[in-house]
Amino acid sequence: MSNPTPLDGPGLEEGKTMVADAPAAPAPGREGRRRHAKKEAKPASLWTDAWHDLRRRPMFIISVIIILILLVMAVWPSLFTSIDPFDARTCDLSAARQGPGPGHLFGRDNLGCDLYARTIYGARNSIVIGVLTTVLTAIIGGLFGIFAGYRGGAIDTLASRITEVFFAIPSVLGALLIASTLRGKYNSILLVILALSVLGWPMVYRIMRAAVITAKSQDFVVAAKALGAGSGRIMFRHLLPNSLASVIVVATINLGTYIAAEAALSFLGVGVQSPDISWGLMIADARDRFITAPLPLVFPALFLSITVLAFIMMGDAVRDALDPKLR
């Protein structure tokens, strides 16, 4: 390292040792301390290092920007369009399947309603279903996973056999069964969340349980016990933070698949029901006339694909950042 200065930028590769140029070009402040920590070739902490890693991944940044835009779209759809798609007066049946034009960016659908406004408003249900299902499966699967993994024995055996039953059911088929059986009794959005959560938690359970079993046998858990920590403290203060990484990763990837599953269920007629709007429902409505008017199907499908892709990309990036072996 004859000329360390040009190397001393943010573009410096992680694995490179900083020992040689540390005295020559001491980086100022916080940045310097981080470099110092890198010398040991281990992360400063799981999270700060993961964050450090993520900030430099274009895939992560792009997916986060897309997700942020979608979230704003879901919360304040009126920011993106002045047309209220729930107002029947904005539809004009005589102009059904009109192509894109002024005032109607994406054109009109089968019933002459503005396609752009409906696509924007559809984001809310898709994202609400995706996020809530993810949170619900993470909580249920995570809690069962910690208890089963930590306690072991009969509780573990019982919980594991139950999840295997769920694994045997193809998820869309199972959700179809649940949603169609309970159809009409509950709010259709709630029903979709419920059906997907019931079938989705065993996956989180398995990952949490495996992570807890690995963490449990490590010395720091025994040490915590030897220094007077109770079961609750061991589970939630020591095991949970050390097992959370893998669950977060799976959850983010699942989020995308839940949004896709919502579309599938709505497409099959048991998901979100009219007059609610969701992308799956829009795709289902447009499919009959796809040959003559492809756009009412293409636009919601495009948004759906981009959303699912964004979440899966983010999950992928988070996994890579949290797993040192994949770096």
Binding site: A37, E40, K42, P43, A44, S45, L46, W47, Q218, D219, F220, V222, A223, A224, K225, A226, L227, G228, A229, G230, R233, R237, H238, P241, N242
Partner: protein, 345 residues
């Protein structure tokens, strides 16, 4: 009201002659698929306030299992304690409820582990982990607990403690990590400290520093120290008495100087003979022949007989009791007199 450890066990200095901690005829078995493993077969030892007991033995001799039984951190099942007592100030802790034992752990009896890196939680700063002791057991606020953590880190001689409380375990060197582990274990002023091979993972110079620190902390607080090790060199300077374990039993116990002067058990003698000495340069190093016993199928009679140079016929059939040599000394060898008098081979 929350129970404190004082409700569970008597506080104060303990009554007269009663030792702080007394392990009495302790048996520990592991029920595994391959059969019953008798890891500890009738171990007895005592520790008084301010006293250091070194428990010496090779891997699988049951020294760590005994310590884990004292702490109550054995996984039960598979572990079973069919027999024996562990009295802390006269109270048998084995008879306490799990809730009461949790109160005792850390507060009255604490433990240091061999590998401090894996014994510290990797996702929290060391300050957080030390201060957790005060927050959980003493109900202190975050700020006050953190202040105590810095004080403790000063006490175990960690330089720049104030800055380093915010660092993570992996950012410390091995010796510093062990100091942090020690800081955590002495946080609540325990009366008994068990150190399970505290220096094995460290290099020699750091070993000496850590042992010095432990000895010093012990002098200050008059705690009873149980030092588990397989390193005879570590023991000589700090221990008051030694218990040598083999095959889950104590084969010899004695004040430290007696043992170094003249061992009374062939196994101890073998251990001492296998220490490299300067005047032996060029000669082959002595080694105890054979392998440690398989705990699943212990040899009959004296467990050491297949490796023993003093073996006679009755060693194969009769298990030797712990013969009393003097008031403070015992040896579980039928021929301890020969060993004691014997010329070094």
């Amino acid at each position: 009201m929350k129970k404190t450890s004082a409700d569970v066990l008597p506080a104060g200095g303990g009554s007269g002659n009663e030792p702080l901690l007394a392990v009495d005829d302790l048996h520990v078995e592991f029920h595994t698929r391959a059969g019953v493993v008798r890891a500890v077969n009738g171990v007895s030892y005592t520790v008084r306030a301010g006293e250091t007991l070194a428990v010496l033995g090779e891997s699988g001799s049951g020294k760590s299992v005994t310590a884990q039984a004292i702490m109550g951190i054995l996984d039960m099942p598979p572990a079973v304690i069919p027999k024996g007592e562990i009295r802390f100030k006269g109270t048998d802790v084995l008879k306490l409820s799990e809730r009461d034992r949790t109160q005792v752990r850390g507060e009255r009896i604490a433990m240091i582990f061999q590998d401090a890196l894996s014994a510290l939680n990797p996702v929290f700063t060391v300050g957080w982990q030390i201060s957790e002791m005060f927050r959980v057991h003493r109900g202190m606020s975050k700020g006050a607990a953190m202040k105590k953590a810095v004080e403790l880190m000063d006490r175990v001689r960690i330089p720049a403690a104030k800055q380093r409380v915010h660092d993570y375990p992996h950012q410390f060197s091995g010796g510093m990590r062990q100091r942090i582990m020690i800081a955590m274990s002495i946080a609540l002023d325990p009366e008994v400290l068990i150190a399970d091979e505290p220096t094995t993972a460290l290099d020699v110079t750091v070993q000496a520093q850590i042992m010095e620190l432990l000895a010093e902390l012990q002098r200050e607080s008059q705690m009873g120290l149980i030092l588990i090790t397989h390193d005879l060199g570590v023991v000589a300077d700090v221990a008051d008495k030694i218990a040598v374990m083999y095959g889950g039993r104590i084969v010899e116990n004695a004040p430290v100087h007696d043992i170094y002067k003249a061992p009374a058990h062939p196994y101890t003698k073998g251990l001492l003979d296998s220490i490299p000495r300067v005047d032996q340069k060029g000669q082959e190093l002595y080694a105890i022949k054979g392998l440690p016993p398989n705990l699943l199928s212990m040899p009959t009679g004296c467990a050491f007989h297949p490796r023993c140079p003093y073996r006679q016929e009755n060693c194969v059939t009769d298990t030797p009791p712990l013969y009393e040599i003097s008031g403070t000394r015992g040896s579980a060898c039928h021929y301890w007199r020969e060993v004691l008098d014997g010329e070094r081979q």
